[in-house]
Amino acid sequence: MVDVAFQANNVAAPLTARKRSSLQRMMKRKSTSAFLMTLPLILLVGTLVVYPAFYSLHLATLNKSMQRFVGFGNFQFLFKRDTFWMVVEQSCIFAISAVFFKALIGFIVAHFVHNVPAKGQRKWRGMLLVPWVIPPAMSTLAWLWLFDPSYSAFNYTLSSFGIGPISWLGEPNWARFSVILVNVWYGAPFFMIMYLASLKSVPDQLYEAAAIDGANWWQRIWYITLPMMRNIIAITTLFSLIVTFANFDITRILTAGGPLDHTHVFATWAFKVGIEGSDLPLGASVSLFMVPILAIAAVFILRDINKRGNEA
């Protein structure tokens, strides 16, 4: 479609004799064709992302059979339920601690990879990124099997040290720990790759100058590495915060929210209420609680992008 419009305009162009008018026409043609080229994108994003996002606002104000307007009824109902507050709590614990440990482990591992000779780095990087490459639904199945109540390979290993058996997914706190552990396992490689890329862009001269001034490794990290990486740390953390806050796969497969709804996050609870409980409006209301954190992160990311746009 786009390309046909293009050719037609192109044929029409040489016919105009006057230089000025052909230039004007070209400008016109350029913006028209540019618009046509972006049209599929605009349509897709408009109908399948922006519209449903606003539609969920409308959906959240309906009753279960979606025939009556109930205003904030769904929210009032949610606020009165203990499960809801448990979900809020667990979502925050889950997202914040998972992102923190992902960032920490990513930072440490990136330093270790950066430390080894350049020709070995590729190999290490290749191995360490594997968790990020495997589809999370598939790797979580492996974790589920590792955490299996009766045949847990972890418990087998721990029992030889005289520990356990631990009920990884059966006991609320252990289940919370396990869900976070799997998320950290899955997400830390992403941080590692981002931090490694930005570590490589820190000029060596800075470290040499610091070494001459007698800075120890902690001072080098605190005064050189961290300030140089500040931007990338901020943006990666925000990204990850959004993704982790909205995470579904891991919790769904590992615990499906159990034991007794202790590990439900917004996404899994919205699925349980909306699809399994076939109360779409209530589910939509639950998932809308992800918006504030999203909006905050988006504002910060946007500020960063604009700032960088001005620098360029």
Binding site: V2, D3, Q7, K30, S31, S33, A34, F35, M37, T38, P40, L41, L44, V45, L48, V49, A53, Y55, S56, I105, V109, F112, N115, V116, R122, M127, L128, L129, P131, V133, I134, P135, A137, M138, S139, L141, A142, W145, L146, Y151, T157, W185, M194, I232, I242, A246, N247, F248, D249, I253, F266, A267, F271, G274, I275, L280, S287, M290, L294, I305
Partner: protein, 304 residues
Amino acid sequence: MTGTLTIDKAAPTRAIKYGSMSRDRTWALRWSYFFLTLFAIFSLVPPLYMLITSLKGSAEISAASNPWWVFHPTLENYVRLLSSNQFLTFFRNSALVSILVVTITMLISVPAAFALARMRFWGSATLATGVFLTYLIPDTLLFLPLFKMFALFGDFTGIQLIGKWYVLVIVYPTLTVPFCTWIMIGYFASIPKELDEAAVIDGASWFQTMTRIFIPVALPGLIAATIFAFTVSWAQFLYPLVFTTSTDQLVLPVGIITTLIKGDVFNWGQIMTGALLGAAPPLIIYAFLMDYYIAGLTAGATKG
């Protein structure tokens, strides 16, 4: 060695520092290798355990022997899965959906990225930022309104999208297109202006400029975006779980979880084999195109 030389020449205090620095370095290197090994083990345990379990028969899985070792390796699970029509249907659906989604994504995002990067028009900067923002809207926020929208669409037009695999071809581009457009804008913007000015002077149309110059020059970016689109559509779990139910319409991740887990009966040998086979295509792509994969990963945040 140089340390001892400097001792003879000048300040002895310095010399001690040099010596300790090189010793520090060897120790730092040893520690690095030690911790890297630990982290590599942590990273590789689940996939390796998938492989180990997939090679075991059901008797060995339920035995009390060491779970980390295969005593009687067998390919029984692989044979069973690869000869089951159901599993092959999942695989076919996944492949079909992913390939179609990758094609659609590229057809939408490459021209759009070109227009946004090079052909400034009214609102183009806002649109570029807007595209990026839509990438931040998670699937978990959209699946309920989309479900209702498709149900209403079915009521109005009589075309039932829910329950058919091709509904995924409609939905997945929302996950892939914004990010691919975003990284392609980055790649296109890094191409020197002189190149397309030369093309325009030679009489190339905008379309020719894009296909003859931008796409070949930005090919690494294109490959990175393709890999991203493929891995995202291959791995997506929530949308197929919500939008498809009948077993002949399922894609791999959901198919494995809903058909191989029957009630409380977990056939772990086959589940792990299925999971490993499901993880294989992205892993193979990653093994051969690691640099493009990583370029795509870092482009989103650093190029923007």
